[in-house]
Symmetry: C2
Subunit: 184 residues, 2 copies
């Protein structure tokens, strides 16, 4: 299987449904890198169009890859080795196409329904056949401009829960576990 | 089912295997509260013997329950309503016994093996019969003094992974999903 993940800071929605760019959160970079490495995801793209934010992520990566963090906590180095920062979702797609020799299918996660949904088993089977890029939206989720382009929208994690506000770190961990995790 | 979770800051191990007390991380309080609420866990105990750290958590809880945070992000209020801070694991057990009328079974999670392990299905079946307290260790995991007392040790999340360093936030989310999550 050949899966990639992307944490998308633009275009995403705010509480009111407007398209915004969210700020990068340091712990998102770390947690999702560690989860991605645990499930042997090929690469993790942090997507933000803001140059200062990309420089911030590069500084975090450099601290843990080459700086004092690498000596102190080597398992962070290993997790962050597969993390990179790009400008747009299309840049992530282009990077995967170059490495995998074919464009990835796009997979979206959403806490809201209203679109045809794929099960985790269906998406895992798809990724076993063709590279897949799983998109996680920050803020209040991916904007329609991205959702309209994807090949699969995964079912909400807990469709019948009365509360549906997992952190993106938790949602990413659960999604990777459902797609690629060891069975009971 | 009647499940509780506890995030244990003492007694836990450091990298060298010594018993330490870790510092509370703000985002652990939030993320695990949101995951616990999503899976309808009855309560979330943040366990630390350090009074200044307990006051810090109380301040976080108060900001989101009654302060400006509650007006700005009401879904945080709902998640944190089930969160409380206690001195020791025994205080959490006593609080559950008082509310549930029966002492909970203790369930530990660990990235290391070496003890008899229960499957997620077995532990979910146990919690359906009797209240259960699921203990998550910070640092490098729960100390033997706690592990020796538990009724069930859950299998490692990815026993065959070459990398086993999920964040405690991610491990808690995945564990709750495996125990109580919707099926595919």
């Amino acid at each position: 299987m050949s899966a990639w993940v992307a944490l998308v800071h633009h275009p995403v929605l705010d509480r009111a449904g407007d398209v915004i760019t969210t700020a990068v959160t340091n712990l998102d970079v770390h947690d999702i890198a560690r989860s991605a490495r645990t499930y042997d995801v090929a690469g993790y793209f942090v997507v933000t169009p803001i140059e200062a934010q990309r420089r911030l992520v590069e500084r975090i990566l450099s601290h843990w890859r080459d700086g004092s963090g690498a000596r102190r906590v080597p398992e962070r180095t290993e997790a962050l080795a597969r993390c990179e920062v790009v400008d747009t979702v299309d840049d992530a797609i282009a990077a995967i196409e170059e490495r995998a020799g074919q464009a990835p299918s796009l997979i979206a996660t959403t806490a809201r329904s209203g679109r045809p949904m794929a099960s985790y088993g269906e998406v895992a089977a798809s990724i076993a056949q063709r590279p897949g890029l799983i998109l996680f939206g920050t803020g209040h989720g991916l904007a329609p401009g991205v959702l309209d382009r994807v090949d699969h929208v995964l079912k909400p994690i807990q469709p019948d829960a009365s509360y549906n506000h997992l952190s993106v770190r938790a949602a990413a961990a659960i999604t990777l576990d459902r797609l690629f995790g060891a069975t009971d």
